[in-house]
Symmetry: C2
Subunit: 331 residues, 2 copies
C-alpha cells in the first residue's frame, strides 16, 4: 500500500432509512419476504409509506453505514454516494460529515429525490427493506474522485450498486484506480437476492478485481449455488485473497490463503433491529485491518460493532465505538 | 358538552425534532440553559446543526405529540399546525395521519421551510431544545377550521403559540369558538421561559377563556411569580376550573374547585430522554378525561404515557398505549 490519506473509502447508495415497527401480518399483507431488500418504484413507495405507521428517519445506506462505523472507531473514512439537493439530502450529508466522514459527491440538482428505504422491523427484530433508489440512479463514473481512491488504503463497495449500469461502471472504475495505485479493493455481496441477480458478474469481478470479500452465510452460498457452507468457503478461498464471512449468532470466519480464523459473536442483551449488522461488522473489521491488527482482532472489532448496532433501532452506531473498544482493551 | 366528533383537538407548532446526543461541554460551549426551549433564527440553526453530531429525525411539536398520544390511546384526535409543502412537511403529515390523527391544515406553498427543533440530549437524559419555527410563523386564524373546533370535546393549545402574534390570534379564535359551542378549552404553559415572556397575557387568557391548565412545577410557579408551590396551587385553583400540575418524579396534582387529587409517578427503569414527558402526560390525562374516567385514573394514564415516552429517544409513543393500559386494567 502507498501512504494513504484515508483508511477506508466506501461507495454505495446514499439512502435515508424510514424505520417503522410493524407486525408480521403487515409483511404478509404486502407480500414481502422477511429479511430481504426490495427495490421499489415511486408508486410502490407512496403506497407503502401510506400504509405504514409513524416512522423515524435516520441516515443509512449499506456502505454509508460502514463509512460512519469506520469514522466512529476513529478511522479516516471517505464516502461516495449520490443524494439530491433536497432536505433529506442535506440530512444525509450532515450525518456523514458530523460523524467525521469526508463526503463531497455533488448533490443532483435535478431528477428524482434523495433515496429512501422503508425499513419494516418486525417483533423478532428482523428487518425487511423497501428501497426507492431516487437520486442514487445518477451515481456515475463522473462521481469517482480518482485522487481520493488513490489515497485510500481500502476502497469498499456495496453489491447493491450492481443494480444500476452507471453505478456498476463507477464501481469498476474505482476498483481499477485503486488496484493501479497499489491500494486494496473490497466488496460486500449485500443480499442473497442481489447475488442471485448478478452471480456471474460478481464472480468475474471478485476473481479479477477484489482483495477482500464480505458476505454472510446465505450470500456466499448463493454465490456458489450451493447449500454447503464449507464448500463455499473453499471456493471463495481459491477465488479471492481474503474473505470475511459472517454467520449471525455463530460469529464469523476469515479466510486468507491457507489461513483460517474463527471468531465468536458477542452477546447482545436484547436484539432490537438487525439493520446494519453486516455493514458495521465490515466497519469494525476494516478499521482493525487498516490499523494493521491481527485478523482475530479485526473480527472481534467487527463483532463488537455489529452487536452495538443491533441493540437499537437504526443502522448507525449510537456510542463511541473507538472509546468502547479501548475500554475493553481491544485497541 | 355537545356530542363530539373528536375527543381532543390540539393546536401547536408543527415541528420535526432533530435529536442528537451531546455531552455537557457542548451545551456550555453553545451557552445554552439546560432544559430550556430556545427560539433560533436560520443562521443560528445552521450553526448548531453544523456543530452537532449525527441525528435522528422524528416528528414532534408539543401539541402534536399530545394529539399523537391521544390517538395512540385509542382516542379521536385532530390537529392544527403549519408545515411547508416540503419533504419534512410530508414526513410530519404522514406521521400524524399514520397515528390516526386528523390533520388537514394546508401546507404553506411559500416562505420558510417546515420547522425543526434541534434537541440536544445530555447524558442525564435532560433535553435542551433549539427551535427554528420556519413555516409555523404562518399559522393564522385562516387555519382554524371552526367545524372541527365545534365538534371537539376539548381544544388544547400550547403556550408556545403565544410567541407569534398571528398564532396567538388563531389560538384566541379557537378558544372562543370552542367555548361558544359548549366545548372545553385547555392550555399547556409549555416552558417557564415562555411563561416569563407572556405572564400577564397568559393570566388574562386563563381567567377568561380556559377550562383546563397543564403546567409543571416551575411553570406554575413562574406564572404566579412565586417560589411557593402551594401558593401557586391555591392561585390556579381560584383562576381556572381545573389544573393538572406535573412534578417529574414526584407525580402530579389535579385541582378542580375544592377537589384535590394526588397521583404518583410510575417507575421507569432507565430515563433516556425526557422530551415529551409533559405532552404525553397531557395526552393520557385528556384521553381519560374525555372517556369520562375519574380524575385519579386520568392522572395515572398521564403518568403511564409520560413514563413510556421518557424511556426512549423521541417524544412520540413507541408502544400501543391503549393496549398497554388495557393490559394493566387501567381502561
Amino acid at each position: 500500500m502507498n501512504r494513504a490519506q484515508f483508511d477506508v473509502l466506501t461507495i454505495g447508495n446514499a439512502i435515508v432509512d424510514v424505520i417503522a415497527q410493524v407486525d408480521d401480518t403487515f409483511v404478509e399483507r404486502e407480500k414481502l419476504v422477511k429479511g430481504s431488500m426490495n427495490l421499489i418504484d415511486e408508486d410502490r413507495a407512496e403506497h407503502l409509506y401510506g400504509a405504514m405507521g409513524p416512522a423515524t428517519e435516520i441516515s443509512g445506506g449499506s456502505a454509508g453505514n460502514t463509512a460512519a462505523g469506520v469514522a466512529n472507531f476513529g478511522g479516516r473514512a471517505a464516502y461516495f454516494g449520490k443524494v439530491k439537493d433536497d432536505q433529506l439530502g442535506g440530512i444525509y450529508r450532515h450525518d456523514m460529515r458530523a460523524q467525521g466522514v469526508a463526503f463531497n459527491t455533488p448533490a443532483a440538482k435535478e431528477g428524482p429525490a434523495t433515496a429512501r428505504s422503508f425499513i419494516l422491523v418486525t417483533p423478532d427484530a428482523e428487518r425487511t427493506m423497501n428501497t426507492y433508489l431516487g437520486a442514487c440512479v445518477n451515481l456515475s463514473t463522473a462521481d469517482i474522485d480518482a485522487e481520493i481512491v488513490k489515497s485510500s488504503a481500502v476502497t469498499y463497495m456495496e453489491g447493491y450498486l450492481w443494480d444500476k449500469p452507471e453505478a456498476k461502471e463507477a464501481f469498476r472504475l474505482a476498483a481499477q484506480i485503486a488496484r493501479a495505485s497499489g491500494q486494496l479493493t473490497s466488496i460486500t455481496l449485500s443480499d442473497s437476492f442481489c447475488v442471485e441477480r448478478h452471480r456471474d458478474s460478481f464472480l468475474d469481478l471478485i476473481r479479477s478485481h477484489i482483495d477482500i470479500v464480505f458476505a454472510n452465510e446465505s450470500e456466499i452460498k448463493s454465490l456458489y449455488k450451493t447449500q454447503n457452507f464449507d464448500g463455499a468457503v473453499a471456493a471463495i478461498r481459491r477465488d479471492c485473497p481474503m474473505a470475511a464471512l459472517t454467520r449471525s449468532e455463530k460469529g464469523s470466519l476469515i479466510v486468507r490463503g491457507g489461513e483460517t480464523v474463527e471468531s465468536q459473536a458477542l452477546p447482545v442483551s436484547k436484539v432490537v433491529d438487525v439493520t446494519g449488522a453486516g455493514d458495521l461488522y465490515a466497519a469494525g473489521f476494516l478499521f482493525g485491518f487498516t490499523q494493521k491488527l491481527a485478523l482475530q482482532q479485526c473480527a472481534v472489532l467487527g463483532s463488537l460493532a455489529a452487536a452495538e448496532v443491533i441493540s437499537h433501532t437504526g443502522a448507525r452506531p449510537e456510542i463511541d465505538l473507538g472509546a468502547h473498544a479501548k475500554k475493553l482493551g481491544l485497541i
